[in-house]
């Protein structure tokens, strides 16, 4: 995917779910259906905030069975680059926006006999779409949902109504992952989405309990962090670009009219990987894609989330 295939949509509803979370509904202005998608997909939302265009990934939470209305939920992040604040403060019903077609980096494995889902906080959203899909297709699943407080347990009531006893909510309680992971029947697949420390804990517990890698799925999008502005030279396009403090390198390339590849914009998919030709300074890697060795070698950068601090950066784009 690259910058050119965005879809025009209208914001049809903005719902305050709780003090931190708002839900946004999108439809096509002509009333036709939006692209079909499968549970676990995300879309990229384009936010034209002042002079810059920001684009961030959000999981679709609406049912894959209804493509007239896409829904996402966004938790306000007061420390980020301002994408969530923009959505919370500026976006109102009736506004025109642009989104990408959905892409799924967190799909349900349809061959499995059972789906064990573990969500933390706002990480619940892809599971709302997936459980709607599984209710329709008849798959066996359990959803274990942890949240710090009742207020933060967004959609717990809705889920209780839709999936009943298959929802296990842990409000202000720890989930006993060892117990959970040691009693799953053969053929179960594990899906985790939530804050990074929770994902890491679950992955470690799954490994300890002998779960094979092919049965473990997780989704965590890194946030493009704000940081010091820097300059990058794009060797193929022969352009020098400025990356502002609230802008990602990928966004700065797009602003300069360079068509750079991406899929997740959260450091997870690998699509935006770019060769570093020269770097005098330090690459601030923020992705989950490159391994530690590659990060240390410094020959590659993921422009969707990583930044640079130094005097000279040349990348092959």
């Amino acid at each position: 995917m690259s910058a050119n295939n965005m879809i025009d949509v209208v914001v049809t509803q903005v719902v305050e779910v709780n003090e931190l979370v708002k839900r946004f509904h999108f439809s096509r202005p002509d009333g036709l259906a939006l692209p079909a998608f499968s549970g676990g997909s995300h879309i990229i939302v384009e936010m034209s905030d002042g002079e810059h265009v920001r684009k961030s990934p959000y999981s679709l939470m609406s049912s894959p069975l209804d493509t007239s209305d896409y829904q996402i939920s966004i938790r306000r992040d007061d420390e980020g680059r301002g994408g969530s604040l923009y959505m919370h403060r500026e976006v109102r019903p009736g506004m025109s926006m642009r989104i990408s077609a959905p892409a799924n980096l967190f799909p349900i494995n349809n061959r499995s006999t059972k789906h064990l889902m573990i969500a933390g906080g706002i990480g619940i959203t892809p599971f709302i779409a997936q459980t709607a899909q599984l209710l329709a297709t008849g798959g066996d699943f359990e959803l274990h949902y942890g949240a710090r407080t009742t207020e933060l347990a967004s959609y717990v009531d809705e889920l209780r109504a839709s999936i009943g006893r298959r929802l296990h909510a842990y409000i202000g309680e720890n989930i006993d992952f060892d117990d959970l992971l040691s009693r799953q029947p053969a053929g179960t697949h594990l899906y985790v989405c939530g804050p990074e420390p929770m994902i890491e804990l679950v992955l470690a517990k799954a490994a300890e309990n002998g779960w094979p890698k092919g049965h473990i799925h997780f989704e965590h999008f890194a946030k493009a962090p704000p940081g010091e502005p820097f300059t990058a030279y794009l060797s193929k396009s022969n352009k020098s670009i400025q990356v502002g403090k609230d802008q990602s390198l990928l966004e700065a390339m797009e602003e300069a009219g360079v068509d750079a590849p991406y899929l997740c914009r959260g450091g997870a998919c690998g699509q935006c990987e770019t060769t570093v030709v020269e770097a005098e300074g330090k690459i601030l890697h923020g992705d989950y894609w490159l391994d530690d060795e590659e990060k240390a070698a410094g020959n590659k950068i993921m422009p969707c989330v990583s930044r640079f601090c130094g005097s000279n950066l040349v990348i092959e784009r």
Binding site: T188, N209, G210, P212
Partner: protein, 201 residues
């Protein structure tokens, strides 16, 4: 064993037990030796949370490791005479297992192939099992023309036991069927009968 062919041709490794609450071994004939050899490097506790399904198609021959395996005193031991007879038992064990159970396959290519198919049917990812090839390389072959499966194929070409066509046995493999693909070798010139060689022994 040729592994440098096409991507669908399965490749096998060697068994290396990992930490787990439960281990399930499925082996036949010479594959039993792989288990017995492992036992030399493992503490006897290992076998207390372990099930072994061993298929001994030639009792009292050089490939019969049943006594040595029984002597390991694993928590469950099943001795069978053929993979077909053991299928129900294998599926039962796989379906009863909990996630985290480690699965190890050792023995003839047909045992590895059929067991892997049963593993996939039980909902496991095929990459989650360890395999070690020992003994016969005889193949299960599916005739692409009549779809019949001929087991124990050792020659190239081979005659389809269902429709009688002479088949070239390819490395093209189906995990779902646990079979290699056989394609008629002399369709244009039925009188052209290539020499038959023992290719899969």
């Amino acid at each position: 064993m040729s592994s440098e062919t096409i991507a669908s041709r399965p490749v096998y490794g060697s068994l290396a037990p990992v930490e787990s609450n439960y281990h399930l071994f499925i082996a036949d004939d010479h594959g039993g030796a792989a288990i017995v050899e492992l036992a030399q490097h493992l503490s006897s506790d290992f076998w207390t949370n372990c099930e072994i399904i061993y298929i001994n198609s030639q009792p009292n021959s050089a490939s019969d490791h049943s006594d040595a395996i029984e002597a390991l005193q694993c928590s469950k031991f099943y001795l069978g005479a053929s993979i077909d007879a053991a299928r129900g038992r294998i599926s039962n064990s796989l379906n009863r297992a909990k996630m985290g159970t480690q699965i190890y396959l050792a023995g003839s290519e047909q045992l590895l192939n059929v067991s892997t198919m049963l593993v996939i049917e039980a909902g496991y990812d095929h990459r989650s099992v360890q395999t070690e090839q020992r003994g016969s390389l005889a193949r299960r072959v599916q005739c692409v023309h009549c779809k019949g499966i001929t087991p124990d194929v050792i020659t190239q070409p081979t005659v389809c036991s269902h429709c009688g066509l002479l088949l070239l046995v390819r490395d093209h493999y189906s995990r779902r069927l646990a079979a290699f693909q056989g394609v008629n070798i002399n369709a244009e010139y039925p009188d052209d009968i290539p020499e038959t060689v023992e290719a899969f022994v």
